[in-house]
């Protein structure tokens, strides 16, 4: 599975609204769309760090880096060489 798919799948399985109602594109801001809450933010951070074996610096812990699949991919790319 590609990194992009893994992230999408993780967000999908933790979405606040019911799965069949939720449709999001990789560029969508998932926080603004109200799909996820701040409780999810910590879990998402843990997921990214364990899945991609990297430590996100404090300065990179800002909503914008986690607000869409694209942004998460870019964040991970800063740390590691990954296959999208």
């Amino acid at each position: 599975m590609s990194a992009r798919q893994k992230i999408r799948e993780y967000i999908n399985s933790n979405l606040v609204v019911l799965d069949d109602e939720a449709e999001f594109e990789d560029a969508d801001n998932i926080f603004q769309k109200g799909y996820v809450n701040s409780l999810f933010a910590m879990k998402l951070l843990n997921f990214v760090e364990s899945e991609f074996q990297c430590k996100v610096d404090d300065s990179d812990i800002v909503i914008s880096n986690f607000s869409s699949v694209d942004n998460i991919i870019n964040l991970v790319k800063k740390k590691k060489d990954i296959e999208e």
Partner: protein
């Protein structure tokens, strides 16, 4: 003072008991008529009433040991019992993880030196005690919390409710937030009163993982803040359909001409998965905004409170300054997260 000695002065949160020749005389596998050691029931009861939890690390057949504990009428004192043939250091690690407390707040009591050494080798911060000293436990300074509050008296029950909730949650198939909405959560934020202060002090002393500054305040300091025009001290209580989690949160705000300055924010680890930290944060943001001010927050980074750091950052706090792990956050309040739909929020004056 070395760090090890220092750590072993912390108030004890859990005593982990061996069974054979510790809780009872004899070895259960060899003699099914083992007898409780004299006075053990009273030791268990006394510590329990002080809010100190009990657990078990015993090498025994699980069913037999549980049956014996039931016969003695003491089974319910023990949370997350580890009864099997694996090393006791593993058992302690599991208990620590399940109860979600620091290793430095655990005491292990066993009659066998080998077992104590094995635990000590793997968990330096655990205090290991020879079972012959069991009657002395209640006298140890670490076993005598400064205050016994309503919440300490019912701590075991609250943990039992938590186990019940966890089992239900594990079987739940919907999203985490759907699960939360089934709990009928009610979150109450109120200004601290005289009666809240003991529990408030207890919270500052007991909470490390979700403490924003690591500062502890004593009763008199907290009392001062409740009477001060320049401060506000809030306490939070959480309940759901299974019962009350108790008073689980605290926030201290200093009011300046331009800002609400958050000096301390803390939450009990037991409610970590309920998302109420963000609710309290939104409440404080709204209070500051209503007063026409911005919000500042002190924060001390430790290796244990990263979750809280992340909560601040995701609530749009910007780091104004950082010196030796002490951060000053500011929030311009341009974006205040809405209260979640899965809980009922009550704000009392």
């Amino acid at each position: 003072m070395s760090t090890t000695t220092e750590a072993k002065t912390k108030e004890v949160k859990c005593v982990v008991w061996d069974l054979d020749n510790t809780v009872w005389d004899g070895v259960l596998l060899e003699d099914e008529n083992v007898q409780l050691k004299p006075g053990i029931r009273e030791v268990l009861q006394t510590l329990d009433s002080r809010g100190i939890l009990h657990s078990i690390a015993s090498k025994n057949n699980y069913e037999d040991a549980i049956k014996k504990l039931e016969e003695f009428g003491i089974k319910d004192y023990f949370l997350y019992p580890e009864i099997h043939w694996n090393p006791k250091s593993h058992s302690i690690a599991n208990i620590q993880k399940n109860i979600n407390i620091g290793m430095d707040t655990i005491v292990f009591i066993d009659d066998q030196k080998f077992e104590r050494d094995e635990v000590q080798y793997n968990h330096e911060q655990v205090e290991c005690i020879d079972a012959v000293k069991y009657t002395e436990l209640t006298e140890m300074p670490r076993m005598n919390p400064r205050f016994i509050t309503v919440d300490s008296g019912r701590r075991r029950q609250m943990y039992m409710q938590d186990i019940h909730r966890k089992n239900i949650e594990a079987e739940y198939t919907g999203t985490p937030e759907d699960f939360l909405s089934t709990l009928e959560l009610e979150f109450t934020i109120s200004k601290a009163t005289e009666e809240d202060l003991k529990r408030a002090e207890e919270l500052t002393v007991r909470t490390h993982q979700l403490n924003s500054t690591g500062i502890t305040f004593d009763y008199n300091e907290l009392r001062f803040f409740t009477h001060s025009e320049k401060h506000r001290l809030y306490v939070c209580e959480l309940t759901d359909k299974y019962g009350s989690y108790g008073k689980i949160g605290l926030a201290l705000v200093e009011i300046t001409d331009t800002h609400f300055h958050l000096k301390l924010l803390l939450m009990s680890c037991r409610v970590m998965s309920r998302g109420v930290g963000s609710v309290l944060m939104s409440f404080l943001m709204n209070e500051a905004k209503d007063a026409g001010k911005k919000l500042l927050a002190d924060f001390k980074k430790t290796d244990r409170n990263r979750q809280m750091y992340v909560t601040y950052k995701f609530a749009n706090f910007i780091e104004l300054d950082e010196k030796e792990n002490i951060v000053l956050f500011e929030n311009d309040l341009s974006f205040i997260p809405l209260y979640p739909k899965y809980l009922k929020l009550t704000i009392t004056e």
